[in-house]
């Protein structure tokens, strides 16, 4: 607004709260009343300028349409949810963009849920494929039981060909490798926690990826926390639900969430705080659960869940502990995942890396990596996903670094895929600085 117009007066949430009567729009979103949120939209389009998909895909109408505008259409007459909602990657950037507190991602999640429920053919290839991708957790145990076979089969070109032709899973990507020993197997083998401490207790939500694919991240968390004297609990758990939200599989997500809330609430009852090493998992427990579900204790779990690194920064003097540690000449290109950004955690890793002698970390900027969980795995989304990632790849290549660093498992796949860099998790660097080669130590202790 460059001329004498005034910016739209705001609509302060809360001010009119007494007066509205709830209208139900998305039927399966039982307790949801999104009206005050939708009414807050004053069409400034800030959300649209933050949407990485709209930036590369002319055909995507953007978050403002997906959220408040579609909501209004729905209210007026018998509109179906627009199928473009399936193009949204659930990066949730629009959420933190909106200056007016419109709950965009909550609207997208519910709209996607309704779309899949009402408008998607349950026998269609797309539905089946999405369900498989979203429920990766269900397949993973099988693959993990025969990791070498699984890795071999997944790597076969014929498997990829079937993936692409039959299921619509892109053949451009390499399936993530399954670890030969899952984190939970290691944990049991190790005899669980090495430290008991009723006053300092955390319950670790490791999620699927750290369990099946990158147990080294989970082990790093355990060792770093034990270094600070914490008792680590590893409660039973299901998938966080993130891939299910993103695919509109709200019923699947609800089942997983119910287990998680129950188990984590019990741990909280035992005096633990919940920590997660994956930024999408913590986002899901903290924000999406309370937005979408109302199990008993949902709020309690959300309020007591932390990003694992953030927790140490607040409860311990992590930075002081890192001053004086050193690692031999490591330089990283750091990408802050969208779901870290949304939680205000995007600056944290750089701050900590700066404290370690010999470590340099360069932030590669605020672009989205583009993979967004299952999104970049879909054959029809692959190109969009890579276009979004282009800026990050370029910045990584330009950074003075040999390795990549991030906290999100799928971002790390994309970083590796686009640049060929090996990617590390912040917790692994902290482990190296604070604990050293713990694997060797544990092996020795185990032997002795």
């Amino acid at each position: 607004m460059s001329d004498a117009e005034r910016p739209t007066d705001d609509h302060v949430p809360g001010a009119e709260d007494e007066e509205f009567e709830p209208v139900r729009v998305f039927p399966e979103a039982e307790e949801m009343d999104l009206r005050p949120g939708a009414d807050n939209c004053y069409k400034c389009s800030t959300c649209d300028t933050n949407c990485p998909v709209a930036e590369v895909d002319d055909e995507f109408p953007g978050p403002k349409f997906q959220g408040p505008e579609q909501w209004r259409l729905k209210r007026q007459n018998d509109h179906d949810i627009d199928d473009s909602v399936m193009k949204c990657s659930n990066c949730m950037r629009c959420d933190s963009a909106c200056p007016s507190e419109v709950p965009l991602s909550q609207m997208h999640n519910t709209a996607r849920g309704e779309y899949v429920e009402e408008n998607m053919d349950k026998r269609s290839r797309e539905y089946v494929r999405n369900r498989i991708l979203a429920n990766y957790r269900r397949l993973a145990p099988l693959a993990a039981a025969f990791p070498r076979t699984a890795n071999f089969v997944m790597g076969l070109s014929v498997t990829k060909w079937i993936g692409e032709k039959v299921l619509g899973i892109t053949s451009e990507r390499d399936f993530p490798e399954f670890a030969t020993e899952t984190f939970r197997e290691w944990w049991t083998e190790r005899g669980g926690a090495k430290i008991e401490n009723p006053n300092k207790r955390v319950a670790y939500f490791h999620g699927c990826y750290a369990n099946y694919n990158t147990p080294e991240v989970a082990k790093a968390l355990v060792r770093v926390y034990e270094h600070f004297g914490y008792e680590v609990m590893v409660p039973d758990q299901d998938c966080s639900g993130t891939p299910m939200f993103a695919n509109g599989m709200l019923e699947d997500a609800r089942r997983a969430a119910e287990t998680n809330v129950e188990e984590l609430a019990a741990a909280i009852e035992d005096g633990a705080d919940v920590v997660a090493s994956c930024s999408s998992c913590s986002m899901s427990l903290r924000q999406e659960y309370p937005e979408l579900f109302d199990f008993e204790d949902t709020e309690d779990v959300a309020a007591n869940t932390w990003d694992a690194v953030e927790y140490l920064r607040v409860h311990e003097d992590l930075e002081a502990e890192l001053e004086g540690t050193s690692l031999a000449g490591e330089s990283f290109a750091y990408h802050a995942p969208c779901h870290s950004r949304n939680q205000g955690l995007d600056g944290q890793t750089i701050e900590l890396m700066d404290a370690i002698d010999g470590v340099e970390a360069h932030d590669v900027g605020d672009s989205c990596s583009g993979i967004s969980g299952t999104y970049g795995w879909k054959a029809e989304k692959y190109e969009t996903s890579m276009k979004i990632g282009e800026e990050m790849f370029e910045h990584m290549a330009a950074a003075d670094a040999e390795r990549g660093l991030t906290e999100c498992p799928t971002c790390s796949m994309q970083m590796e895929h686009g640049t060929g860099y090996e990617i590390t998790h912040t917790l692994e660097v902290l482990e190296a600085a604070l604990v050293g080669d713990a694997d060797a130590t544990e092996r020795r202790q185990g032997a002795g």
């Binding site: 460059s2 910016p7 205000g344 600056g347």
Partner: protein, 452 residues
Amino acid sequence: MAIEDDVLVIGGGLAGATAALAAADAGRDVRVRLVTYKQSTLRHASGLIDVLGYAPASDGKAEGPLVDPFDALADLPEGHPYERVGSEAVREALAFFDDIAGDAYAGDHTDRNALVPTHRGTVKPTARYPVSTAEGLASDDRDALLVGFETLPDFEAPLAAAHLEAAGAPFSARGVTIPFPGIVRDDAKVTRYAHLLDRDETVTTGAGETGAREALATTVRQHLEGEPRVGFPAVLGDERAAEVRTALADALGADVFEVPMGPPSLPGIRLEDLLYGALEDAGVRVTSGVPVVDYEMADAAGAGSAGAGTAADGGGVGDRIDRVVVDRNGTEIPHRADQYVLATGGLVGKGVRSERERVFEPIFDCHVPHAEDRYDWFVDDVFGEQPYARFGLAPDRELRPLDARDEPEFANLRAAGAVLGGYDFAAEKSGGGVSLATGYVAGRRAAEEVDE
């Protein structure tokens, strides 16, 4: 434990970013953090930095456009943010901005306002403008071709050109509307246009497949009648805007400029990127996406006490904020600093809120002067001076917000930008300048007090 810093700036708009940069610049060892919630109004703003385009006049109407904003600063009413900080500080703040912006901005060669054509074909007096608009100034007497896009209705080039001529611009302007190669959707986002040009993506036109820049130049060339400069809506690239402009200028054999657009605005987004890049270079720690929701006061023993929300009554210079509470998706994270700067914006940025019965500042509940009766908050004449436009905190000359008895609310809290009252940025065209000047002074003073 809390996250510890020396200066904590709350709010990451133009005012907050400037405050954080000024604080980092002032003290060698001052550790500065900026905590900001949603995106600031920078993304809506034109990217122009207005100091004062129109002066508030005694009859309630605005006076202007002003040729030299500095001439008018001395006559501003008491309580106006410029009156609070003084005109020397306004100059220093602009110089500080010029340093940060480097060659991305122009206008620093003179005190006088530049006249920038806007997307409606009006002419706006401004103090600093992005270089992308430099070739378009209305004081320049070269003829201009304005180019609009069919899919971007916010800029009607023929209409804007007619308005410019009617306003007496010293050149002739002509407007054409063309399709933008590679865009089909009629509500494609401005970032989509910018991305196409930034990446020079391959597009298909009647003439076959070419890069987007070349395709655009080819389409425009057919309409060029020897004009030495061509104006486009401000969508010419984001990260590589300069490169895009040069490529188009070379291909057209004419100078190329951007016409600032309504929100959302790429020049505003580029300014935001520039400021956040500067924050990173200055070592300011930035925490974004999370709001400050509460605070705790220091008691006599120096420890924190839960005094939230109760400070409004007992205010006085002695009261200090010990820590503020940041809400991270439901988890409350304490942040402690020695000095605080509040730059949370106005009614739009949500730094000041209104309910039926009252207008208030939501974090510290600082006093917001306003009439008891809500019917006195606005006047019926929509073009008249609106009291609500001036709502905001009333600070002392140190920019510490004052309570109802004119005492500072807290010893270690300063405020800057749109959260301040006493001015109407939309009517005066002073938004950017006030944010810069008050941000600069608040940040600098905060850092100096840490040093003491």
